[in-house]
């Protein structure tokens, strides 16, 4: 296979419905009105020379290579900025045009180093290509003023900037503006002195506002902005399209390879989730896949105080099977359980839950969605009838009012965050409900119309106050409610929210948000046109997480903001395959497609297909498993791709639960923190090493393709299958596509899904069934899945977690752009340069009270535990609120979080912990103990050494 760059049509596609027919070089071509002449030519297969134009960016018209002649018009207009007109007759190749293009190219080359043969972009350089295309042979200009020999900026860990090679096409600047929306780049100076600058003259890329999304590098037509990996490895030779394994946006990439080496990840322009964009994680932070910390051989040990011993796969499987059987025989089958991973593929997840249900013989299976979006599943299923968001990402383009609550898209879902910012810059209005002043509240060109800095833990109160305004001021969409919802339930709900005790004024002391702000925001959301709600873990990770989701659904229904583009209720999923893991039946109470395990007809279907009988009772959720373990009745667990010790709340409790088990099987890339308590370690494979599918936050199922062989020898589904076979199950899948066929066979909403179709159609959004053969970008269009929309009264119930004299501050936790979740991947990449430790954000007033300054070490203590970290004094957080991330095991923010959880789903209350902050000199006791234990439990006796 030879390397082909992605097709570039020069200017963005027009979305017009009408078409225009014109003639280009003697051939008729029909394109949407509003297309450029350049795009029309490209669609016809005629490549007009160009340098400043690329279809990711609006036309600019600066390079002057794409000139054409149009009959009846003077001169030689640029084809990128000239829109098509009916009957236009265009000539793209005439002697006159060739002469002019050559003349322009001669100017370019007169200020460009002549080092193509040693240039990193040799063979992958548009300037080189175009110089050839216009037939430039010599440069006649005398040696003159030039930009050669300028210093390179190598400050960014992933790419270099060499201004000597810059042709000042502004593609990087425009990509930063138009695609990413950060506007970190500019042209400095003017005329011949124009120079690309990252921020101020004294800034370099690393020190600038650049978020390292790489859009500029992708846009650069020369080697001016070039990945260090391209310099190191060489230009790619082939490309494989696959899906990113970081967040729930589900970006698709071309993994561009040279031999077996991954050179770069280039966002795939056809990808409907990301439309050719990426963030610093997806594009650059894949080095963990080759990191030396990866464990490639299975390991076992009899007890956790022993060192690990490398073994062959057979031995590991035999040992695991014997332990599981022993424990089942000794303690009963309910002493076993498993955890599926939202990082793994649908197929792998499906197999793990199948192993638990069919192999372990119980329903003790759960997934990490438990600790993030389980309330979404519960809340949206209850109100709408489906456990998923209602829209596709494109929908935001039609939103007039965007309400973001408990989400920080620019950091946690950056590619969608950029889409949202694009829409906001087009004029959509914005409401942000968040305890922190996130970048959505205010960052260049983005300013929320309303920021409601809600006190952590009072989301339900503020949403009810919004509903109060909508109902009492007559802003509800009565027609929608009458037609689409259960009216009795609506009236019940409306009477409740209309109570005085739910008014913004009454609730002001509870939420800490001024009543007039709440009223303004409610009016805007209800009357501002298409209103779309986007939310994240700031909604779900509360003791009333499920109520909050339902309160959001109530608001959307009350205002008629459901069932069309531009509106809806949109959970921003944390992990790449949270949606998929939930879809695949990872929860203990339901089988794939959200069908309750108690439903006999559903069970029958699976029992027939799998040839087993299923337990009709729900199994244990993760926290219940840990409780049962400390009770001594839960003894063995198979954990695929999740580090519960670091990610789950109340670390001490998690540790105690794990320590109480007799067989902990960790299946992961690295010896993670949980593995400190494991007896069997099964090496995992990265997303680059396997086939399968991920399902993103918009229910979009996309293929993950193997771009390289698994370093450990086996894809994760194969490992699970080996374990199943060792336990005596007769599984014989030869490819993940067969697993998907089984999923489709057993799951109505996946009926039309197959790898073959996904390969041909790039993606499908479930449900894909007889009623929606091509999938469902928008849900509940004609009616709710459950029939009538259900209004649920959500009374505000304060969390039991209370501040008091001992713990006067409220801690809330979240993510940062450059790191991901527990950091297992990102900490093993150069992303560390941006965030190499978790810090505690604290308001200046609280900091001053405690004598704390930025950079000081502080002790962060709750009733659950204490840790130390450094402080960052900032008014991004309100007084009384502190904030940190949980990316670093050295900090372990979850030592501090409690085991309080959502009433309906047990999703932990990560977002509200009463804490105290005090100056500190060193690590907490826990940290010291943990460090010692962590070192001890990571000892490995290598197989060769052992013999």
């Amino acid at each position: 296979m030879t390397y082909q760059p992605q097709a570039d049509f020069g200017t963005p596609a027009s979305r017009a419905d009408e078409t225009v027919t014109l003639t280009i070089d003697g051939r008729a071509v029909t394109v949407p009105a509003g297309s450029s002449v350049m795009r029309a030519a490209a669609e016809q297969g005629t490549a007009i020379p160009k340098l400043c134009a690329t279809d990711m960016l609006e036309s600019f018209g600066s390079c002057r290579l794409c000139l054409v002649e149009i009959e009846g018009r003077k001169g030689t207009p640029a084809s990128c900025t000239t829109p098509v007109e009916p009957g236009m007759v265009v000539h793209t190749q005439t002697p006159r045009l060739q002469q002019l293009r050559k003349g322009v190219m001669e100017l370019y080359i007169s200020d460009h180093p002549l080092d193509c043969l040693t240039c990193a972009a040799n063979g992958d350089c548009e300037l080189q290509d175009q110089a050839g295309a216009v037939g430039l042979r010599e440069v006649r200009y005398p040696a003159g003023d030039n930009h050669l020999g300028q210093c390179k900026d190598i400050s960014n860990p992933y790419f270099d900037f060499d201004p000597s090679k810059c042709i000042t096409c502004s593609r990087c600047v425009r990509a930063c503006d138009e695609v990413q929306g950060t506007l970190a780049l500019t042209v400095q100076g003017r005329g011949f002195g124009s120079k690309i600058s990252a921020g101020l003259a004294s800034d370099d890329f690393l020190g600038s506002e650049c978020v390292s999304c790489g859009a500029c590098v992708q846009a650069c037509p020369t080697a001016t902005l070039v990945e260090k990996k391209v310099v190191e490895i060489g230009t790619p030779e082939r490309a494989v399209v696959t899906t990113c394994a970081y967040c729930g946006v589900g970006c698709t990439f071309r993994a561009e390879m040279r031999g077996e080496q991954l050179v770069r990840m280039v966002p795939w322009k056809e990808g409907k989730a990301n439309r050719g964009h990426s963030c610093v994680k997806g594009r650059f932070a894949w080095g963990y896949a080759q990191h030396q910390d990866r464990i490639l051989k299975p390991m076992i040990r009899a007890s956790i105080d022993q060192p690990w011993r490398e073994v062959e796969w057979d031995e590991a499987m035999a040992y695991a099977a014997s332990e599981l059987k022993r424990i089942s025989a000794t303690y009963g089958k309910h002493a076993l359980g498993g955890i599926t991973s939202s990082r793994c593929t649908n197929e792998e997840t499906f197999l793990v839950q199948k192993l638990v249900r069919a192999g372990f013989g119980n329903n003790n299976v759960d997934t990490c969605a438990r600790v993030c979006h389980s309330p979404t599943g519960y809340g949206l299923k209850t109100t709408f009838g489906t456990s998923a968001g209602t829209q596709d990402f494109d929908s935001v383009e039609d939103s007039d009012v965007i309400l973001v609550i408990g989400a920080n898209p620019t950091d946690a879902h950056p590619v969608f965050g950029s889409r949202m910012k694009q829409r906001l810059r087009q004029g959509a209005r914005l409401i942000v409900i968040d305890p922190r002043r996130t970048d959505m509240v205010r960052s260049p060109h983005i300013a929320a119309d309303y920021h409601l800095p809600v006190r952590p833990g009072t989301n339900v109160a503020i949403l009810t106050a919004l509903a109060h305004v909508i109902v009492t001021e007559g802003l509800a969409d009565d027609e929608f409610i009458r037609e689409r919802c259960d009216e009795d339930e609506y009236r019940h709900w409306a009477d409740f929210v209309a109570l005085d005790r739910n008014s913004p004024e009454t609730l002001e002391p509870v939420t800490g948000v001024a009543a007039d702000l709440v009223r303004g925001a409610a009016r805007l959301y209800a009357t501002g046109g298409n209103g779309a709600i986007y939310y994240g873990l700031g909604v779900t990770e509360h003791s009333q997480g499920s109520s909050t989701v339902m309160a959001i659904a109530n608001l959307a229904m009350a205002t008629g903001n459901i069932g069309r583009r531009g509106v809806g209720v949109n959970p921003l999923r944390g992990q790449n395959n949270v949606q998929g893991a939930c879809d695949m039946g990872s929860f203990p109470h339901e089988l794939s497609g959200y069908r309750h395990i108690s439903d006999k007809a559903v069970r029958d279907l699976f029992e027939r297909d799998w040839g087993v009988s299923l337990d009709p009772e729900p199994g244990l959720r993760i926290p219940n498993m840990l409780d049962a373990a400390t009770d001594g009745v839960f003894k063995a667990i198979y954990i695929q791709g999740e580090d519960i010790l670091q990610s789950d709340p109340n670390t001490a409790h998690v540790a105690a639960g794990l320590a109480a088990m007799e067989c902990v099987i960790v299946h992961d890339l690295f010896l993670n923190e949980t593995a400190n308590y494991a007896h069997i370690f099964l090496p995992g494979s990265t997303f680059l090493e396997k086939d399968g599918t991920f399902t993103n936050a918009e229910r979009r199922i996309q293929l993950v393709r193997k771009v390289m062989s698994p370093l450990n020898g086996h894809e994760d589904w194969q490992v699970t299958q080996m374990l199943a076979r060792a336990l005596g199950l007769d599984w014989a899948y030869t490819h993940p596509s067969e697993i998907m066929d089984e999923i489709a066979r057993l799951t109505p909403s996946f009926k039309g899904v197959s790898h073959q179709r996904l390969d041909a159609e790039a993606s499908l959004q479930w449900p894909v069934d007889d009623k929606h053969p091509d999938g469902s970008p928008i849900m509940h269009v004609d009616g709710f899945v459950r029939g009538k929309g259900k209004f649920v009264v959500t009374d505000y119930v304060p969390t039991d977690e209370k501040t008091g004299p001992r713990f006067p501050l409220l801690l809330t936790t979240g993510r940062i752009l450059s790191q991901y979740n527990v950091g297992a991947q990102t900490r093993r990449t150069a992303n560390e340069v941006w965030h190499d430790e978790d810090v505690l954000e604290i308001h200046p007033v609280d900091a001053e009270d405690r004598g704390v300054r930025t950079g000081n070490w502080v002790k962060l203590a709750s009733r659950a535990g204490a840790t130390t970290l450094r402080a960052l004094v900032t008014d991004r957080v309100a007084p009384g609120v502190v904030y940190t991330t949980f990316h670093h095991p050295e900090t372990q923010a979850n030592v501090v979080t409690t085991d309080y959880s959502d009433w309906a789903t047990n999703c932990p209350e990560y977002k509200v912990t009463a804490v105290q902050v005090a100056p500190s000199n060193g690590p907490s006791d826990w940290q010291q103990d943990y460090q010692a234990q962590s070192t001890r439990s990571r000892r490995i006796v290598q197989r060769d050494a052992a013999e």
Partner: protein, 149 residues
């Protein structure tokens, strides 16, 4: 005339934030702000760029791009008085070249090039502050530079 650019802009003791705030009501206020900052502080330095970017909710790259585009805005303060000498065609045709040796010899005064002051029938012309001078001869130009110091 009682109204001049200098008197309009120079309101002493104004801070950068005062200047930004006083322009927030208008659309596209960046150039007026930069003019006022330049007039009051003699330059638009990097710290000021950061402040303006923050105040207007722009990226600092954007503000830097604008500041560096326009010759009226200086990154650093030069305390010398500035004499803008027209070096455009109309003044050339009227013997402007004869002033060059005087300009080169200038000390304590910064001679900047300007292309046209709109005094094209009475050139060669120059401007000190907002005081315009036409029909310059080398001797008169030397006097002007001397007086400006």
């Amino acid at each position: 005339m009682g109204i001049s650019i200098d008197s309009f802009y120079s309101q002493p003791m104004k801070t950068i934030d005062d200047i930004i705030k006083s322009h927030l009501g208008s659309d596209g206020p960046l150039l007026p702000i930069l003019h006022e900052v330049q007039a009051v502080f003699g330059c638009v330095d990097e710290e000021t760029v950061r402040q303006i970017a923050h105040g207007l909710n722009l990226s600092r790259a954007e503000v830097h791009g604008v500041v560096s585009f326009y010759h009226d805005f200086k990154a650093t303060r030069d305390p010398r008085p500035v004499v803008k000498l027209c070096r455009a065609e109309a003044c050339q045709s009227r013997g402007q070249a004869a002033l060059e040796s005087v300009a080169e010899a200038a000390s304590g005064v910064k001679v900047e090039t300007v292309y046209c002051l709109g005094l094209c029938a009475v050139g060669p012309a120059a401007m000190l502050g907002e005081e315009v001078h036409g029909r310059l001869t080398p001797a008169r130009f030397a006097e002007l530079l001397e007086a400006a110091r």
